[in-house]
């Protein structure tokens, strides 16, 4: 128990937040209070405003919270390790491959690309049908197709890996 007396944490989502914690709890002040009100449910008071949020996913130091009908995804790090990661991050940023995932569950209607083909940013890669609407999935940057994991008429789940691409300059 002695290990976590007083720590500094960084919680990064869309924005980044810093908190001081004390013995396994966010430090409470008059303007910042937190209380567990149910399994996975917490109430927060911030500057006299009240929020109720739920933990909807938790895996190691990643955590997703549903609050006012919106979801927020966070990565939680100790202050020191957050700083270390930032410093080291720049070197590995030159990641050449990226993946195309299904933005929603549906059916693959058409695939416009084949292995090895080069696509330009904004060009259609495939058509995904969801709720009877055809959605064009476009290339987000100039790239070469490395692997195609689906075929025409496949049913796919949301977030399913569809295509792997390699960035080209």
């Amino acid at each position: 128990m002695a290990k976590d007396k007083r720590q500094k944490y960084r919680v990064s989502g869309i924005r980044e937040f810093a908190f001081v914690t004390q013995t396994f709890s966010v430090r409470q002040t008059q303007r910042q209070q937190i209380e567990k009100t149910g399994q996975n449910v917490y109430r927060v008071e911030l500057n006299n405003e009240s929020f109720t949020g739920e933990i909807i996913q938790k895996k190691q130091n990643r955590c997703s919270v549903l609050i006012n009908g919106n979801t927020y995804h966070f990565q939680i790090d100790r202050e020191e390790s957050a700083r270390r990661k930032k410093a080291g991050g720049r070197k590995t940023e030159e990641n050449k491959t990226y993946t195309l995932k299904a933005p929603m569950p549906g059916k693959i209607c058409e695939i416009f690309v084949s292995k090895g083909l080069e696509v330009k940013e904004g060009e259609p890669i495939l058509i995904l049908e969801a709720m009877k609407m055809h959605n064009q999935i476009l290339a987000s940057e100039n790239a070469r197709v490395v692997t195609i994991h689906v075929k025409k008429n496949d049913n796919v789940l949301g977030d399913q890996l569809l295509i792997e691409l390699e960035r080209i300059k």
Binding site: M1, K3, D4, Y9, V11, G13, I14, R15, F17, F19, T21, F24, S25, V26, Q32, I34, K36, Q39, N40, Y42, V44, L46, E49, F51, G53, E54, I55, I56, Q57, K58, N61, C63, S64, V65, L66, I67, N68, G69, N70, T71, Y72, H73, F74, I76, P103, M104, P105, C109, P124, I127, E129, A130, M131, K132, M133, H134, Q136, L157, G158, D159
Partner: protein, 497 residues
């Protein structure tokens, strides 16, 4: 025709809506219990339930025309109400009802057929002098024809499935280079959805408002209008919220549009409820778009401002009663909004977010009517549309209705699924929307589609950290639970993007 019983060939909130009125009118209500949704909410509202056996679950009963007729015959049910969607605008259902001596709660087979064919409807509109959008006067069935017609009309053009509806099978084409791909995609979509790939090509009206007029007519040529509904807040031609009346209409414009709607209705010998849709451009020119021959999802806003029960009037006019309302009896009282709470993840581009509704609470308010097809504990099946509930909020004025809506939404709580409530809040907090300055491009131009309270993300981050620390404490004290996650977390696991 005196009817004693009614079969609702539909599900969800509209089945409940129809059954409530039908029961009040003394009709025996019947509905289907399907294997796909055996515990659905709507079933408990029916007097009699027809159980669809498991083995016939390959086709949806709501789309199986002959089976619906058969069940009605076997159970000696007098009338069929189709609701909206499914077979509501299929002329064959009306025809088969006629042939079997069952009363179809809707217009005649001919009216549905005529209005369902966009080209026929447009021809009739032109014949009675309604303004229409310039474009093809015959269905287009090939790319060559499409190219010629689009060139003649002048880009940008709108591709519209001849048999389309509900916002499906429509696409804007900005220039000739886009035409081939857009044409093929729209035709494919139309064949899949309506089994008819024929297209209409029309001049695309930039940033119009979408305004529709509710009409009501009997079988003897008497017709009244129930004013307009403003439905400009749309995404991919899907309405997200509606209101009545519309801020865009002056008295003279309202008179002109409602006159046109009635003219069309009389020319078509139309009876029961119908909706005539118009586009209104920046210069206050309006154009006939299409006519819907069913009860609409957004009918409650009209009920709210007129004080009428549209389902009751629909049943009465269908069964041959003479219209007792005169136009002067119908007045606009106050303002009403309808917000569609859909099981969609606004943060993930409105992707469907089906699942179990753990909690669903709306505040009790004299300004709020909730039409919901589900309650807490219900499963939202992925098979159907994503509508969870419609919130109808009223006020004496538009501003007052907006304030009431904000108060209602602040207290609304839904968990287990993500819904469009953050989008509705974002709309109600948009200064242009509040000022009444918006059109169909509104949603596309929104800077952020979901509303965030100040400090909301900070509060969320605090919760995330607290939960993380609690886990750390458990690890350090060696008393971690066997799974570490609740079943609820596992359920949501794959739905978060």
């Amino acid at each position: 025709m005196d009817i004693k019983s009614i079969l609702i060939a539909n599900r969800g909130e509209i089945a409940i809506r129809v059954m409530k009125t039908a029961r009040r009118m003394g009709l025996k209500t019947w509905c289907f219990q399907t294997p796909q949704e055996a515990n659905a909410c709507y079933i408990s509202f029916a007097d009699e339930v027809i159980r669809i056996p498991e083995e016939s679950s390959a086709t949806l009963i709501f789309l199986d025309l002959e089976a619906i007729i058969r069940y009605a015959k076997v159970n000696q049910i007098d009338s069929i109400h189709p609701g909206y969607g499914f077979l509501a605008e299929n002329p064959d259902l009306a025809r088969r009802c006629d042939e079997e001596g069952i009363l179809f709660i809707g217009p005649s087979e001919e009216s549905i057929r005529q209005m369902g064919d966009k080209n026929e409807a447009k021809k009739l509109a032109v014949a009675v002098g309604l303004p229409v959008i310039k474009g093809s006067d015959a269905p287009v069935t090939s790319l060559i024809e499409a190219t010629r017609q689009a060139f003649e009309t002048g880009y940008p053009v709108m591709l519209k499935a001849l048999a389309g509806g509900g916002g499906k099978g429509m696409r804007v084409v900005r220039d000739a280079r886009e035409l081939e791909q857009s044409y093929n995609m729209t035709v494919n979509e139309a064949i899949n959805a309506f089994n008819n790939g024929a297209m209409l090509i029309e001049k695309y009206i930039e940033c119009p408002r979408h305004i529709e007029v509710q009409i009501l007519a009997d079988r003897y040529g008497n017709a009244v209008h129930l004013f307009e509904r403003e439905c400009s807040v749309q995404r991919n031609h899907q309405k997200l919220l509606e209101e009545a009346p519309s801020v865009a209409l002056t008295d003279s414009l309202r008179t002109a549009m409602t006159d046109c709607a009635l003219k069309l209705c009389k020319a078509a010998n139309y009876y029961t409820l119908g909706t005539v849709e118009f586009l209104l451009d920046k210069q206050d020119n309006f154009y006939f778009l299409e006519m819907n021959t069913r009860i609409q999802v957004e009918h409650p806003v009209t009920e709210a401002i007129t004080g009428l029960d549209l389902v009751e009037l629909q049943i009465c006019t269908a069964s041959g009663e003479k219209l007792s309302l005169e136009q002067d009896d119908i007045q606009i009282k106050g303002w009403a909004f309808e917000f569609r709470v859909n099981a969609e993840d606004v943060q993930a581009n409105f992707a469907p977010n089906f699942g179990i509704i753990d909690e669903m609470i709306f505040p009790v308010s004299p300004h709020l009517r909730v039409d919901a097809g589900f309650t807490a504990g219900s499963v939202m099946p992925a098979l159907y549309d994503s509508l969870v509930a419609k919130l109808i909020v009223t006020g004496k004025t538009r501003d007052e209705a907006i304030l009431h809506a904000l108060a209602v939404l602040k207290k609304a709580r839904i968990s287990g699924i993500k819904t469009t409530i953050p989008f509705i809040k974002a709309t109600l907090n948009d200064p242009d929307f509040v000022a009444g300055i918006f059109d169909t491009s509104f949603v596309g131009n929104m800077k952020q589609l979901y509303y965030q309270e100040k400090n909301e993300e900070r509060a969320a981050s605090m919760i995330a950290l607290q939960a993380y620390l609690e886990d750390m404490e458990k690890i350090e004290s060696n008393c971690i639970e066997s799974s570490g996650v609740t079943p609820w977390i596992t359920r949501m696991w794959n739905k978060i993007i």
